[in-house]
Amino acid sequence: MRVTTPTWSELLGTEFVVENHPGGSTQVGGEELYNADADGYTLAMWNMPQMQATWLFQNAPYRIGDFDYLGTHHWDPTMWFAPPDSPYDDLEGFIEYARENEATVGITAAIGNTALSALLVKETYDLDLTIINMGGGSGVRQAVLADDIDAGVNQPWAFNPDYAGDVTALGSHTSEQQELWPSAPSFGDLGLEEIPLVDEGLGQWKLVVLPGGVRDRHPDRFEELSETYAAVFENDAFQARTEEQGGLDKIIDYRGPDETKREVEATAQFMKEYADVIENFIYDQ
């Protein structure tokens, strides 16, 4: 958000006040937005699928229809990492290792894309994995660097590509290789298509969301926000800033309001489809 607002502010001709509402796996900020006035003066940048997870697994009071969607910002694919001296150098090797040994896998949160990726790999190959929530991206990174876990699931941009030589990238939960971490194969490259969501790609979206009702009650404001937000991605200063952000420019992926809503619905659909996988994990633990 802070990368985007300087340019957006210029285009919109108004100042942004950025507030951070952490906690509850994004639910604290989500409810803040849900309860805000639908006047076009409050918006949020939100992570997906954490958004859907808050109502699927945490009883958040809102649903898809309670918000208006302005557009996506970027998509960071889910990726598996391992300590540098691991006896495997891709996910296929890790799966073989985990068939013979008890293995630990660190994830960034109990109910997001990293948890789902770990659980889908575990279920697909019937592995005896101990999946541990490391409490965020830096927790996973530290555990991988310190060799505390056998593998960690994060996103390449969140993990920081500067570590490319210091850790082993086992593979990304996608059919095609992603751009940000060139040494990392995709699950598709490794022939692991039997893992669900490889073709669709499992990752974390960042998107801009408004309280529901802005589009209907203030179509002019919605239009202005939508046009200026789209224009941000064409702006040279914004593009230069994203290049300075550790390769953020490589994962920028803008989609307009309608396509964003379709993406939100599709994500909700697959999260619902695999909800029992995450619920079983929570109850088993």
Partner: protein
Amino acid sequence: MIEAFLFPATIADGLGVLANPYVLLAILLGTAIGVVFGAIPGFSATMTIILFTPITIPFESTTALIFLVSAYGGAVYGGSIPAILINTPGAPGSVVTCWDGYELTKQGRAVYALAVSAIVSGLAGLIAAAFLLVFAPPISEFALNFGPPEMFLLAVFALTIIPAAKGASLSKALLAGLFGLLIGTIGNDPQLSQPRATFGQTTLLQGVDFVVVLIGLFVLAEVFRLAHRGATVTADENVEGGMSEVYEAARAVASRPVGFLRGAFIGTFVGSLPGAGADVANFVSYNEARRWASDELSDRFGTGVIEGVIAADSSNNATQGGALIPTLTLGIPGSGSTAALLGAIALHGLNPGPGLFDASGEIVYAMILSLFIGNVLILVYGISGSRYFGKLAYIPIRYIIPAVAVLAIVGGFAVRNATVDLYIVLIFGLIGILFIKYDYPLVSLVLGVILGDIAESGFVTGWLLTGESVTAFLFNSYIAIGLLILIALSLIVTVVKD
């Protein structure tokens, strides 16, 4: 993994950056603003960084980041001013400063305590900055060895300080500490993100913010105590409050180099551990100072001995340099403040992590070198200001009580802009009064709340990582064994003394 990065040429470039008058102005302003905001109860260094980060967006990156780093250092020091004057920690890292600092104020020695606080804060900050400059890579590597089991044991070690807190009874201190741990369990559980005891309040998914607890327990409870006592200072009001007190403060620090250096090193090291900040460091430092003191002096800790102020304030400011070590070299924040700073660093186009010194060495060295100027400014602001801050202790309580009560309410709300926090402030204000009435130590409760999250996350994650084996968990590494020995020694000493 991380190569040494002490490049004289780059340091010279960094010094060149500092020669810019705008950068120097940023350090001057940032430190001053940090001191002022840090002194507001409930306004921590983390909140100061978060508040000012958006304001720095239009500025050139180096100037902006140096401003934020300076504000961070100023805010950590600023938290000690109200701790000494009105028994109200301005920030979580100043809780322990109250114990002897406020006792000195009550004896009419506020200027003396404030000057000591400024001197040890500035000097310890300089030592930590030097460590950051020279030893960042090896310390980063070592800090990585503190995995979840070690963090749990570190939290337990800090919890063993509870019975030693201000000479309270062992059973009451432990009960208060356990109650604090119980409060720490409110919110989403760290492993499965399932809500616990949130009473339908979304804000509580994040848990009870310990700054809010601090404000309730210390500020509101102290307002009632003040009303009961009738004045802040109980000693003769004609006590010298001028330069003589400042000179005496300088002599006090100079004659206790071991205590000061011990606090500075504890602060630097604890600060470099991910998740443990100034709040943990000053408890550990105070406990160690008390443990190493003679029996006679140890018994007087908490009654206004200057060794207590030195232990607390030499450690909390040193955490800044320590916490920046994993932040800059690994991209892993060492504290809440450095987590906020990490966001600001990324916002200004730098990429914290192993490549940072190669890619942006000039800016990073300028940031590190600015710590030296910032800490010298803390000395200047603190020593010159202490003579004037000290006069606040003589303001009639009819002015102090409403002003402090308003600050408490505003500060409690400002932490998260959440209405529920106002009720929490009030509830803990009442709990504070009950604790004082029945002689339960407030600090034990606070320490339990602070350490609850670190202990629980460390235990659960460590337990799973070590295959749910008690022995593997406890003997995970030489560091874990060392911590176990320290815990055992701490308990034995406490029981014997009790």
